[in-house]
């Protein structure tokens, strides 16, 4: 699987370098603005970094899914599917790689944006006031006696939850694409894409419905942090289960049903 991931990286090398170059360019612009005391330039660069944080994440995730679909339709897929590897390794190598790079790019852009934001606040002499206001808003919004440590733990859970949501979206998309390739065999074009989208919607709705049925709990403002954490923990386990099942079915279909 690691060898396959190595070749996934090579496939995406140019795109990742382009994104990194974009970030570097914006950071250079921000630093130039910082040194030359140009808040407008700093604000523009920071805004673009914020936009790129989401855009890079979305682009890599969507392109990763589209790339899998393309590989099942085009002859370049022969290279992977002729290799003596288990189909589950093929599926996991693509899933894990794209999930890692899209989250890493969002984290990198986000971290750069956060540091630049602090620098901008410092430049405008607003940092202490702004952070105090943010802390007060946080306490007011939660309406609870939760400690900072508990809040940070919850933030950690939420971060893991986001990662699993991304993985689940990708696993669902992969299964939808593999199912449409199985049903429509060597058909190409618009119909296969349409069927993939329909299957994606059905599978997403199905997994959400099942999650709701199994985990339904009313969470109110002021609810105990522990109960919220327990429910979130169960939700994470369930999402992980869905990921494993969807990836496993995709691999089985690739092994037994899908033609290149």
């Amino acid at each position: 699987m690691l060898k396959l991931m190595k070749y996934e990286f090579r496939k995406w090398r140019t795109t990742l370098l382009a994104l990194l170059a974009g970030l570097v360019a914006l950071e250079v612009g921000f630093i130039v603005g910082l040194k030359l005391d140009k808040p407008t330039l700093m604000t523009v660069c920071l805004s673009l970094i914020a936009v790129l944080t989401f855009a890079a994440f979305a682009y890599l995730t969507i392109a990763g899914i589209a790339g899998y679909s393309q590989e099942l339709r085009e002859k370049s897929g022969y290279l992977v599917f002729m290799a003596p590897v288990q189909p589950i390794s093929i599926v996991l190598s693509k899933l894990v790689f794209i999930a890692l790079v899209s989250l890493a790019s969002a984290a990198l852009f986000g971290a750069a944006g956060y540091l630049d934001f602090r620098a901008l606040l410092g430049k405008l002499h607003l940092d202490t006031q702004t952070m105090n206001n943010m802390n007060a808003l946080l306490r007011f919004g939660l309406k609870t006696d939760a400690t900072v440590q508990q809040i940070l733990q919850m933030a950690g859970f939420v971060a893991v939850s986001v990662v699993l949501e991304v993985l689940l979206t990708m696993c669902t998309a992969y299964l939808a694409i593999t199912l449409s390739a199985t049903l429509l065999q060597n058909k190409k074009g618009f119909l296969r894409g349409l069927i993939s989208i329909v299957l994606f919607v059905v599978l997403s709705w199905g997994s959400s419905w099942l999650s709701q049925k199994l985990l339904y709990t009313r969470i109110e403002f002021g609810a105990e942090i522990d109960e919220f954490r327990r429910t979130l923990g169960l939700s994470l386990l369930l999402n992980f289960g869905f990921c494993a099942v969807f990836a496993g079915i995709s691999a089985w279909l690739l092994d037994k049903k899908v033609d290149m």
């Binding site: 060898k3 370049s76 022969y78 288990q86 060597n186 092994d255 033609d259």
Partner: protein, 243 residues
């Protein structure tokens, strides 16, 4: 031994292979013949694992098609199957990474013989150069079963000669080869067994001497697909040149 038992492959609107049963003995060079659309490429893709039979079984030395057999089968398709970002060198590295029987030194020698530059990008290659690259990759492997789909198409006379020489050398080393071609004249003296397909059905299969019976391969081909009236053989047709 490669064995196909009652193999059928159906797509949505057509049957590419219809109840084909065949055995190819180890160490034999088998020519797979038939007009366009007769099922030759489909058969090769089924053996490689790039497609799944609708029904029937395919085994290589008793083992079903899977990662273990993929490690022992070298397949040269007619189409380009490389990623555009790759160079000729990259593809060699890919093969070396995934196929233990890939000989990198032989690959480099073949590239030199075929006048291919390792630094060339795939997108820069002409169709003839890409065909030479596909040949170089397949011939650089010491696979138990080597399959060539139209290996002489789109290449110059020098490369054709090199390919035929390589097939001859492979035959001497005891490798099993399955070759699909329309250029029957050029390969007539290197093959042991013949398999004729027509509209997905097995028409005839057997040792070359036995089937040709004094005719040239070209004449036999024309008899079967041209003005001939040879019908479909019964099932379980075993290819046995010693019969």
């Amino acid at each position: 031994m490669l064995k196909l038992q009652n193999v059928t492959k159906r797509y949505l609107r057509r049957t590419a292979l219809d109840d084909v049963s065949l055995e190819i003995e180890t160490g034999k060079v088998c020519l797979l013949l038939g007009p366009n659309g007769s099922g030759k490429t489909t058969m090769m893709k089924l053996i490689t694992g790039l497609a799944r039979p609708t029904s029937g079984d395919i085994t290589l030395d008793g083992e079903g098609i899977g990662p273990a057999t993929k490690a022992r089968v070298a397949y040269m398709p007619t189409e380009n199957y490389f990623y555009n970002y790759m160079t000729v060198k990259d593809i060699g590295k890919y093969y070396a990474d995934f196929f233990r029987d890939f000989d990198s030194a032989r690959y480099r020698r073949m590239l030199t013989d075929m006048e291919l530059d390792e630094a060339d990008h795939i997108r820069q290659l002409s169709s003839g150069m890409a065909a030479k690259l596909r040949l170089s990759l397949a011939l650089s492997r010491d696979a138990a079963l080597m399959m060539f789909d139209e290996p002489l198409n789109g290449v110059d006379i020098l490369t054709r000669t090199q390919t035929i020489d390589a097939i001859r050398a492979g035959r001497q080393s005891g490798r099993t080869m399955l070759i699909s071609t329309h250029l029957v004249d050029e390969l007539e003296d290197v093959v042991d067994t013949l398999v004729f397909l027509k509209q997905g059905k097995l028409v005839m299969a057997g040792g070359k001497q036995e089937i040709c019976a004094g005719r040239t391969l070209k004449d036999l081909y024309l008899d079967i697909y041209g003005h001939g009236s040879v019908g479909v053989q019964p099932d379980d047709q075993e290819v046995n040149p010693d019969a």
